[in-house]
């Protein structure tokens, strides 16, 4: 089931742009893993030895996942630079497969669709501190 992102007209961005948007999303997923890796590292300092051993396996998995994602992002980014600019593909069906609403909205906007105005209004003028 898709996220239900309405689109006024069919989106047919270039393959290069599509790979570019995909690379950026994978890079963001990798960044979130790196953040999670740090949080787990901080939590580990407060655990007992037994729990720390178990958590270490999880930490290793998150570290591998971060490397996996950043590598895939690099691959996709490089492919986007190599893809011909005049080759286009319809992406609406693929976007409809994305079940995470925020991700579908970002990708739709990145691929030339309209951005969610309500989300924009909520953000407009804000300066976010991470």
């Amino acid at each position: 089931m898709g996220a239900g992102i309405a689109s006024g007209q069919a989106l047919s961005p270039s393959v290069a742009a599509t790979l570019d948007v995909l690379a950026a999303e994978i890079e963001l997923a990798g960044a979130r893993c790196i953040f999670l890796d740090r949080v787990i590292g901080e939590v580990m300092d407060r655990l007992t030895d037994d729990d720390r051993e178990r958590m270490l396996q999880g930490l290793h998995g998150v570290d591998l996942l971060a490397q996996h994602l950043t590598s895939l992002s690099a691959f996709t980014r490089t492919m986007s630079l190599a893809a011909p600019a005049d080759l286009t593909l319809p992406v609406d069906a693929a976007i409809a497969e994305i079940t995470l609403g925020a991700l579908a909205e970002r990708m739709t906007a990145g691929l030339g669709g309209s951005e969610d105005d309500e989300a924009d209004d909520a953000d407009s003028g804000d300066v976010d501190m991470f």
Partner: protein, 146 residues
């Protein structure tokens, strides 16, 4: 979130939510104090009230674009120059020349990795005389090879 000891404040100005969040996370994990703004107008407002050690600026912003933002920054009173890393797609040589004339210290073409942004930011801060060194670089937690 940890902010203790985070002396290096970086403002990220980018309309693209994915890039903005990714860069903010990478900066945070690397030990910087990261702020994000989705428009030049929002960035100018915060610059009027706070000091930053560096700015990562997207050239193609809706409304006031990156170049106009750089011009507007000049008119902020009583401000020391803030090093700017300009990012954007298809940055032409003319864009780079113009940007450097407006105070930009370095440019990075999109699409980029989080590691590339951290590397360029760290380099720019090290080269900036009198600016605090990159906190992350000092602590050795910048993910250059991730």
């Amino acid at each position: 979130m940890q902010f203790d000891g985070r002396s290096t404040k970086v403002l990220v100005v980018d309309n693209d939510r994915t890039t903005l969040e990714m860069v903010q996370i990478r900066l945070d994990v690397a030990g910087f104090q990261a702020f994000g703004a989705r428009s030049a107008q929002a960035a100018l407002e915060v610059l009027g009230n706070s000091r930053f050690d560096a700015i990562i600026l997207e050239r193609d912003l809706p409304g006031i674009d990156g170049m106009a933002f750089l011009e507007a920054m000049k008119h902020l009173q009583d401000r020391r120059p803030v090093p700017v890393l300009l990012v954007g797609r298809a940055l032409a040589a003319d864009d780079v020349r113009k940007a450097v004339g407006l105070g930009v210290r370095d440019c990075l073409a999109k699409p980029f990795s989080g590691a590339a942004v951290l590397e360029r930011l760290g380099r720019m801060l090290r080269k900036t005389a009198g600016a605090p060194a990159a906190a992350g670089a000092q602590r050795g937690v910048v993910y250059l090879s991730a």
